[in-house]
C-alpha cells in the first residue's frame, strides 16, 4: 500500500487527498477533457502549483498536470533517506560536458508539489541589482522586470508561506519583518556564526519555509532533520501543503500521475491543449491557454518534443534559445572537524547563512555572487560526500565515524548563462517512448574563479570557528535555471516579462527556466514570486481583452 500513490491516481472522482488529515479527502472540481479550460498547466511545483492557485483564485478555470504522485506526508513520508528517493525525478537523463551534472535528489522532484516537497526551504530574495545584471554589474542579461515590483511579490509569497526569519535582514534595501520568528540555531549554525564574527562579516538566521509557530492544521517544526527527504509533519511549507490546497479550494483541478508529452497546436498555430498519459492510455485535454512549468530540464524537453512541421525546432523557439543557457548553481563546500559534538542531523539543514559575497562587489575576480550556509547532511548524503572524494574501505568507515563532530559551510553560487550549457533530446527513449533529455554542462572560467574564492574564504572562516582537518569538496551543483529565458526582445528571449511566449500567444512558461540570470541564492522564492506576478498580469490582460 505504501507506494499506492505511484500507481493509482488520487485526484479523481471529485476528490483529492487532504494532506492535513490521515486518510482524509477534500472535494475537487473536475473538468471534462473536451471542455476548453482557461489554463492547462504542466507541472505543480514552485512555478505551476503557485500559478494554478493564483489563477484559480482570480476566477480562471484551471487544470494542472503532474507526472508524479500525490503523497500524504503524514502517513507516507518515512524517516529514511533511501525510501524517500520516491520524491525525486529518477527517470533517466544523460549528462555530459566538462562537468556532467548529477540529477535527482537535490534538483529534480517528481510529485504533486514538485521539488518543493524535498527542497531545503531556504527562501531568499534576489539582490535588486541582479535584475539588471548586464547594465549594472556587467555580466549575463537584464531581466525585463523591475526589482521593486519583485519586492512586492516577494513579500506576498513570504507571507503566504509564513517564512520564519530574522527581524532585521543584514543586506539590501529594507524588507518587512519575516512573518514568523527565526528558528533556534543548532550547533552547526553557530559554527557559521563564529566564522563570520571572526572575519567581521554579517550573518543571520536563514529565512526558511518551515513553521516556527503553529499554522492552521500544521504544527511547528520538530527539528527532526529529514527536511530534504520530505517533511512528515507538514511544518515545511511546500507547494503540496500551501498553494495546492488553496488551488483546490478555488476550483482548480490537479491531475496526478499525468505525464504530458506534447502541446498540441491548432491550424492557426495556437495552443489547443495537451496530450498526456494517465491510467494506461494517452489522452487529450483542450485548453484556451497552455502553461509549461516543468523546471529547467522538462520544460525545454516538452517544447522540443512538441515540434511540428511549422516549428521543426520545437515550440516558442524562434530565437533558437529553447534549452540553452542552462544555469546551475555551484554548491561546493568546506568540511571540518569540531572539538565539540555538533550533531548536525538535528533541525533544518541550513539554519544560518551569510549573503556577504552577494552584496559585496569589491575584492572579486569573477562575475556574480554567492551565499553560504551551515549544513546538516544525513548519513547517506554524507556517505556520498565521502565516497565522492574517493574514500573506501576502513578509511571510509573511520571518516564516517566522525559524523557527530563534523561541521560544514556550503555555497549557493551564481554561474553565468552560456549557450553551450543546454538541454537537447537524446536518441534513447523513456518508459513512455519519449526521447530522454541530454544535459550538457561545463563551468566557465568566471564560474571556476567564484568557486575558488568561496572555498578560500570559507576555509578561513571554518578554521577561525575552530575547525580542524578542513577539506574542500570541489564538485557539487544544485538548482537548475534558464533554458527558456525571459526578455524584452523576441530574438534574444523565449518569453516576455509576463512569461508569455513570443511565438505562440497562448503558450506560457512559468518556472525557473525563464531566469535570464540565476543569482547567488536558492531560486524557489523567486520562482513563486514570478508565478504570482504572472497570475496578476494574466488577470490584467484579461480585463483589457488582451488574453
Amino acid at each position: 500500500m505504501r507506494d499506492d500513490a505511484m500507481h493509482t491516481p488520487r485526484g479523481k472522482n471529485g476528490r483529492a487527498p487532504d494532506v492535513f488529515t490521515v486518510g482524509g479527502w477534500v472535494p475537487m472540481q473536475e473538468y471534462r477533457e473536451d471542455d476548453p479550460v482557461d489554463f492547462a498547466i504542466v507541472g505543480t511545483g514552485a512555478g505551476g502549483g503557485t500559478l494554478a492557485c493564483r489563477l484559480a483564485e482570480q476566477g480562471f478555470r484551471v487544470v494542472a498536470f503532474d507526472a508524479g504522485a500525490w503523497w500524504r506526508p503524514l502517513e507516507e513520508f518515512a524517516s529514511d533517506e533511501t525510501h524517500q528517493a520516491k520524491l525525486y525525478w529518477t527517470d533517466e537523463r544523460i549528462c555530459d560536458g566538462e562537468q556532467p551534472l548529477q540529477m535527482g535528489s537535490n534538483n529534480s522532484g517528481k510529485a504533486v508539489g514538485g521539488s518543493t516537497v524535498h527542497f531545503a526551504m531556504v527562501s531568499l530574495r534576489f539582490r535588486p541589482e541582479w535584475f539588471k545584471a548586464r547594465s549594472l554589474l556587467g555580466y549575463g542579461a537584464d531581466w525585463p522586470i523591475d526589482w521593486r515590483e519583485m519586492w512586492r511579490y516577494y513579500a506576498y509569497v513570504e507571507d503566504a508561506l509564513k517564512i520564519s526569519g530574522p527581524v532585521n535582514y543584514p543586506w539590501g534595501p529594507h524588507r518587512p519583518r519575516y512573518p514568523y520568528r527565526a528558528h533556534e540555531l543548532n550547533a552547526a549554525a553557530l559554527v557559521l556564526a563564529r566564522g563570520c564574527d571572526a572575519l567581521g562579516i554579517p550573518w543571520c538566521p536563514t529565512p526558511l519555509a518551515t513553521l516556527s509557530a503553529p499554522r492552521g492544521k500544521a504544527h511547528p517544526c520538530v527539528y527532526r532533520g529529514f527536511c530534504v527527504t520530505g517533511c512528515a509533519t507538514n511544518a515545511k511549507q511546500s507547494a503540496l501543503v500551501t498553494w495546492i490546497p488553496r488551488a483546490l479550494k478555488a476550483g482548480a483541478e490537479i491531475r496526478d500521475l499525468s505525464m504530458v508529452r506534447r502541446v498540441v497546436l491548432d491550424p492557426n498555430d495556437r495552443a489547443h491543449g495537451v496530450e498526456y498519459f494517465r491510467e494506461g492510455r494517452w489522452r487529450f485535454q483542450r485548453a484556451r491557454n497552455v502553461v509549461i512549468a516543468g523546471y529547467a530540464i522538462e520544460t525545454p524537453r516538452l517544447l522540443l518534443m512538441s515540434a511540428t512541421p511549422r516549428f521543426p525546432d520545437g515550440l516558442a523557439n524562434r530565437s533558437g534559445l529553447v534549452g540553452k543557457n542552462l544555469m546551475v548553481q555551484s554548491n561546493q563546500a568546506v568540511w571540518g572537524l569540531m572539538e565539540e559534538e555538533i550533531r548536525w542531523y538535528k533541525g533544518p539543514p541550513s539554519l544560518a547563512m551569510t549573503e556577504h559575497w552577494n552584496y559585496t562587489d569589491k575584492g572579486k575576480d569573477f562575475f556574480g555572487g554567492y551565499c553560504y550556509m551551515s549544513q546538516g547532511p544525513l548519513p547517506n548524503a554524507w556517505a556520498a560526500v565521502q565516497t565522492g572524494r574517493g574514500l573506501w574501505g576502513e578509511a571510509l568507515h573511520s571518516e564516517m565515524e566522525k559524523y557527530n563532530h563534523q561541521a560544514g559551510l556550503k555555497i549557493v553560487g551564481e554561474t553565468l548563462p552560456q549557450e553551450m550549457n543546454r538541454v537537447t533530446l537524446a536518441d534513447e527513449k523513456d518508459a513512455y517512448g519519449l526521447p530522454i533529455a541530454r544535459i550538457t554542462h561545463s563551468l566557465c572560467d568566471s564560474d571556476k574563479r567564484l568557486v575558488q574564492h568561496a572555498l578560500d574564504f570559507m576555509s578561513t572562516a571554518l578554521e577561525a570557528a575552530g575547525g580542524k582537518e578542513i577539506w574542500r569538496q570541489e564538485d557539487d551543483t544544485c538548482h537548475l535555471n534558464g533554458t527558456a529565458r525571459m526578455g524584452d526582445d523576441p530574438n534574444t528571449s523565449v518569453v516576455n516579462a509576463d512569461c508569455r511566449s513570443w511565438d505562440i500567444p497562448n503558450l506560457w512558461i512559468c518556472d525557473g527556466s525563464v531566469f535570464p540570470t540565476v543569482g547567488g541564492v536558492n531560486p524557489s522564492l523567486t520562482i513563486q514570486a514570478i508565478a504570482c506576478r504572472t497570475a496578476d498580469r494574466i488577470a490584467t490582460l484579461r480585463s483589457r481583452g488582451e488574453l
Binding site: 505504501r2 502517513e75 507516507e76 513520508f77 518515512a78 524517516s79 529514511d80 533511501t82 525510501h83 528517493a85 525525486y88 525525478w89 529518477t90 527517470d91 533517466e92 537523463r93 544523460i94 549528462c95 555530459d96 556532467p100 551534472l101 540529477m103 535527482g104 533556534e184 540555531l185 543548532n186 550547533a187 553557530l190 517544526c221 520538530v222 527539528y223 527532526r224 532533520g225 529529514f226 512528515a232 509533519t233 569540531m338 565539540e340 559534538e341 555538533i342 550533531r343 542531523y345 538535528k346 548519513p379 547517506n380 554524507w382 556517505a383 556520498a384 565516497t387 565522492g388 574517493g390 573506501w392 574501505g393 571510509l396 568507515h397 564516517m400 565515524e401 559524523y403 557527530n404 544535459i439
Partner: protein
C-alpha cells in the same frame, strides 16, 4: 586481521527506539524490509554475485564484522571471516537495486545504463583479476583485491572486457555510489556513527553543541565509556 575496535557509541542501537515516538508506522515498515533482506541474489548470476559480494567487502569491510562481547559488557567488533554471513547484506541491497532497475535520475554519458554498467564492470573485474593473478576476484586475498580496486580507481584497468567503459568512472559513479549508499542506509551503520536515526514525530529538543536528548547516542570519550554505555542503553 583487525584487532578489536571499541565502538564509539557502545551499546547504542537505533532499533531500541523502534516502538518509541521517534518511529512511525511507515518508517518501521521500510526499515523492517531492509533488515529482512537475505544475502542472496535475484539479479546477478553466480559469477557476478561472487565478484559483487567480494567487492562490497573491500569497499565497506565493516559489513562483515563479527560482534562479540567484551569483559566490560560492551560489544567489540572485529573483522569476521570474509566468507561469513555479512552483518549488513550490502551485496544483496545492491543486487536488489539492479533487480528493480532502480535508477538515480542521471547517467554520466560515458557509462551505459545501470544494469549494463554493473554487468560489464563485474565481468571486467574478474577478467582483470584472472589476467593479474590467475584467479577470480572473489578468490584473491585481501591485499590483491585492494590492489586491483586501487588500480580501478586510478583508471589503470583497460582489458577488452570493459567494452570501452572507463573503469574509473564506473568505480566513482557506480561502485562507490551504490555500495556506499547501501551500507549507510542500514541501522548498523547509523549505530556506528551515532546518528539519531528515524525521528518522527518526536524530533529533537536540544540543539546546542555537546547536548544530547535522552534518546540520542552517547559518545564514549576517554574516561566516560561506562557512562556512555549506560546512557546508550536508555537511549530509546
Amino acid at each position: 586481521m583487525t584487532a578489536n575496535r571499541p565502538p564509539r557509541y557502545p551499546g547504542y542501537d537505533v532499533l531500541l527506539k523502534r516502538e518509541s515516538p521517534s518511529w512511525d508506522e511507515i518508517t518501521r515498515e521500510v526499515v523492517d524490509e531492509r533488515l529482512a533482506q537475505r544475502n542472496t541474489p535475484r539479479f546477478c548470476d553466480d559469477a557476478q554475485w561472487r565478484a559483487l559480494d567480494a567487492l562490497c567487502t573491500v569497499i565497506v569491510p565493516r559489513s562483515r564484522q563479527a560482534k562479540h562481547p567484551t569483559p566490560d559488557g560492551t560489544t567489540a567488533t572485529a573483522r569476521a571471516d570474509r566468507w561469513a554471513e555479512p552483518s549488513v547484506p550490502v551485496a544483496a541491497l545492491v543486487d536488489t537495486k539492479l533487480f528493480l532497475d532502480d535508477r538515480d535520475g542521471y547517467r554520466d554519458a560515458r557509462l551505459p545504463p545501470l544494469r549494463d554498467a554493473w554487468r560489464i564492470g563485474l565481468a571486467a573485474l574478474d577478467a582483470e583479476s584472472h589476467r593479474a593473478y590467475g584467479a577470480a576476484f572473489a578468490d584473491l586475498d585481501e591485499t590483491q583485491q585492494r590492489e586491483l580496486v586501487t588500480r580501478m580507481q586510478c583508471g589503470e584497468l583497460n582489458d577488452a572486457a570493459w567494452q570501452g567503459m572507463p573503469c574509473k568512472i564506473f568505480f566513482d559513479m557506480r561502485v562507490l555510489h551504490d555500495i556506499g549508499s547501501a551500507y549507510y542506509a542500514h541501522p548498523q551503520a547509523w549505530n556506528e556513527i551515532g546518528f539519531g536515526g528515524p525521528a518522527n514525530p518526536r524530533g529533537y529538543v536540544r540543539m546546542q553543541a555537546n547536548r544530547r536528548d535522552p534518546w540520542e547516542s552517547s559518545e564514549a570519550k576517554p574516561g566516560r565509556e561506562a557512562r556512555a554505555l549506560e546512557e546508550n542503553r536508555r537511549a530509546r
